[in-house]
């Protein structure tokens, strides 16, 4: 089944648990600086937005990669990379429109969301379900439903 990481910023409370879970899974340490998912918060407005790799269908990072290290991996619903082929040219970082592919200074490596091989840790830990890993065509269901519920409320108020 083709799944995607769905983000609901309206549910995000800015707790950063996703970043902690991400770095703990990948690097066995709590280090949000190298998390593959990143939350930006506007504290006064009370708004937070998780950002991560969109696993593009026609991915610029794949297109620009000169060695074929970055490649499309539809079986795992993602764009993946082969570290043995990576020459560290950082073209993928330059090409990504989301800033989701990062070259890490410390370990001289690419860091990018790999969906934890099918069971994203960020989704598992998110306490408010602001992140979900769902079948693509169903991804917008919750949002559709929310609109319908609001409409129902208004409709009932108007017609009662």
């Amino acid at each position: 089944m083709a799944k995607m990481l769905m983000i609901y910023p309206d549910r995000c409370t800015g707790c950063h648990d996703c970043e902690l879970a991400c770095s703990f899974f990948h690097d066995k340490e709590f280090r949000p600086y190298t998390s593959r998912i990143k939350v930006y918060s506007w504290e006064m407005e009370g708004f937070s937005m998780p950002t991560t790799c969109a696993q593009c269908e026609d991915a610029p990072c794949v297109a620009v990669c000169p060695t074929g290290a970055m490649y499309d991996d539809p079986g795992n619903n993602r764009v993946a990379w082969d570290e043995s082929k990576c020459i560290g040219c950082r073209m993928c970082t330059l090409a990504c429109p989301f800033g989701a592919v990062v070259f890490e200074t410390g370990k001289r490596r690419i860091i990018k969301c790999d969906l934890c091989d099918g069971e994203p840790e960020c989704v598992k830990i998110c306490p408010t379900c602001a992140l979900d890993y769902v079948e693509e065509t169903d991804a917008a269901k919750a949002r559709k439903k929310a609109v319908a519920v609001e409409f129902k409320k208004t409709f009932e108020e108007v017609t009662s």
Partner: protein, 600 residues
């Protein structure tokens, strides 16, 4: 090192020296971190008789071993110092991301000493630490200060700063971090102001490690489920914020009203969490690694009180609301925003205005004192005017800035101050909830609910129900809650995690994080040790058994109406037993045997 980082940053603001010291692991085992370890260092390094606002006092920002991990709701750090409001040891807890960020930068603690000769701020980026001039920031509010420091350093920095409140040495000034999070009680902001330290800004790119990854994950999952499934931890607090307590307390006649003259407010629902959710709430917010998210992002659109930010939480809604006889949630919320921007404590601010209203209605002060303002209970405009005056340091606001005890005392009537050890009691009437009265009386930082929250069993039935009107068993209950909280505050966890977990889970989290085995008994014993150490500091400071009491109004004046009608607090039935169970002598001094048992 696991859990802890292993490094303490020591900054002398007088000389400008910056040193990195190794964390004493033996002390860390005994005092855990945060409040406990900070208090131990303060106890050892600062003379308890020191003037809190002199350069001899120290200001300690202390993270705990769980900060920076995904242990549930473990984003709290403590500011430890000698507090100016009470003259006692002061540990003020705050959430946000400052504690975790401090650890990612590579430190468990910052010890600030001396006094700068000009306004400065401290900028920490990992191993680089710099004292920078803050002349341009002096006078600015906490929101602008936070933004300007981020612009000058890094947009993602965590900024803990003071506002005009701390600069003017208001005895109940806060330290605010992430604009909306407060180290809010005991006046820690004034100590920071006295050192001319406007802010501490931190950006960390490093890591926190735990000892046993798999075991830690299991501990976290177990604890998280318990909190999520708890009616308060996973329900009430998330859905309605702490303000959910308004109706609950009012229903038992435990909501102090009009400066504790009464303890039932008929219009309470208008300022409760349910109303807040329907009207001003934008969305719930969480501190770092929080699975509860009791924080309330709010916006007031009414042009009269327009603004946005976070709050009010329960104590604030009560202090500017029922305690002042007020039911206008928009005004209360605006008062909250002003206090956050000024960097002052909302509980003391609201309760001091309530005290002034009481003095006014009893003709002890008149419009001549209040700059012409008719300061009676229920007067929303007057309440707002008083908040503005205090924030700006104008006229009668200078009197209010003393806190209720010193203000009322200056008019010869300290008995109108609803405070313990000069700090205002919060939003639980001890006549309706007996055990919390004992907690206020014995709290090591004066009138305060978060030293031993017996409201949990007495009102909310957590972990099991205790009758709020009974005094029997409350001494023991207080000791358990005080010890647990002292240890919890030292670990980096938030008090609200106890709506779901207790000593067993916290000890397990600590053990798997640090690799040092803490049994539940070890954990509770550490809490006992911390509590006794704080008591020793206060005794040395000259504050002791004589001050372990409650205002006469609470001990002698029966609640006049409402569900708790006819009650007073029966402290005398609880205090001797409390001393005895603590292992203290009859006059409330820890015995030698007790101190030996605790390794003090």
């Amino acid at each position: 090192m696991n859990g802890w980082i292993g490094t303490v940053l020591r900054v002398d603001l007088t000389s400008g020296s910056i040193k990195k010291e190794a964390l004493d692991l033996e002390l860390a085992k005994m005092f855990i971190g945060g409040r406990g370890l900070g208090s131990k260092i303060l106890y050892d390094e600062v003379d308890a008789k020191t003037d809190p606002l002199s350069s001899d006092n120290k200001l300690i920002f202390a993270a705990g071993p769980l900060n920076g991990t995904f242990a549930p709701s473990s984003g709290h750090f403590n500011v430890v110092t000698k507090g100016p409001l009470t003259g006692t040891i002061a540990a003020s807890s705050s959430g946000g991301m400052f504690g975790p960020m401090l650890k990612f930068a590579g430190y468990d603690m910052i010890i600030l000493e001396g006094k700068a000769d000009r306004p400065v701020y401290l900028w920490i980026k990992d191993s680089e630490v710099e004292i920078r001039g803050a002349e341009d920031l002096w006078g600015k509010n906490t929101v602008d200060t936070t933004q300007e420091i981020r612009s000058a350093t890094d947009e993602e920095a965590s900024v803990a700063c003071i506002g005009p409140g701390g600069e003017r040495l208001i005895f109940f000034a806060n330290i605010m971090n992430e604009s909306n999070r407060a180290a809010g009680r005991t006046g820690v902001g004034a100590v920071m102001g006295s050192k001319q330290l406007k802010a501490v800004a931190v950006l960390g790119t490093g890591a926190v490690h735990v000892s046993d990854n798999d075991a830690f994950r299991v501990s976290v999952e177990k604890a998280s489920i318990k909190i999520k499934e708890h009616a308060v931890g996973g329900g009430g607090l998330r859905n309605y914020g702490t303000d959910v307590l308004v109706n609950i307390l009012n229903n038992i006649g435990g909501l102090p009203t009009r400066n504790f003259r009464e303890s039932y407010f008929p219009d309470a629902d208008k300022v409760g969490g349910e109303s807040l959710t329907k009207t001003l709430l934008t969305r719930p917010r969480g501190c770092y690694s929080c699975i509860i998210s009791c924080g309330r992002a709010t916006r007031v659109k009414n042009p009269k009180y327009e603004g946005y930010g976070e709050g009010p939480e329960y104590e604030t809604a009560w202090a500017f609301g029922p305690d002042c006889g007020i039911d206008d949630l928009e005004a209360i919320t605006k008062a909250n925003y002003i206090c956050n921007e000024t960097g002052i404590d909302t509980i003391t601010m609201g309760a001091t205005i309530a005290c002034a209203m009481d003095l006014f209605e009893n003709n002890i002060i008149t419009t001549k004192d209040t700059d012409g303002v008719v300061l009676n209970f229920g007067n929303v405009e007057a309440m707002m005017e008083m908040v503005h005056k205090t924030a700006r340091g104008e006229g009668f606001g200078k009197k209010l800035a003393l806190g209720s005890y010193r203000m009322a005392d200056s008019y010869g009537h300290p008995e109108y101050s609803m405070s313990v050890k000069k700090q205002e009691m919060p939003a639980y009437d001890p006549r309706a909830v007996q055990g919390i009265g004992l907690n206020y009386a014995t709290s090591n930082r004066g009138g305060c609910h978060v030293r031993g929250y017996t409201v949990a069993p007495e009102v909310l039935g957590n972990p099991e129900k205790a009758d709020p009107l009974v005094t029997e068993g409350k001494a023991n209950l207080n000791i358990i809650f005080q010890n647990l909280t002292a240890a919890l505050d030292s670990s980096g966890a938030c008090l609200f995690a106890t709506f779901g977990i207790g000593g067993d889970e916290l000890a397990d989290l600590l053990s798997t994080a640090t690799g040092i085995k803490f049994s539940t008994e070890d954990f509770m014993l550490a809490g006992d040790r911390i509590w006794n150490l704080e008591r020793l500091f206060n005794l040395k400071a000259g504050i002791g058994p004589k001050e372990d009491t409650l205002p006469d109004r609470i001990l002698k004046d029966e609640v006049p109406k409402g569900p708790s009608k006819g009650n007073v607090n029966r402290l005398d039935e609880m205090l001797p037993e409390y001393y005895s169970l603590r292992g203290w002598d009859e006059s409330g001094i820890p015995t030698k045997d007790k101190l030996t048992q605790l390794g003090l």
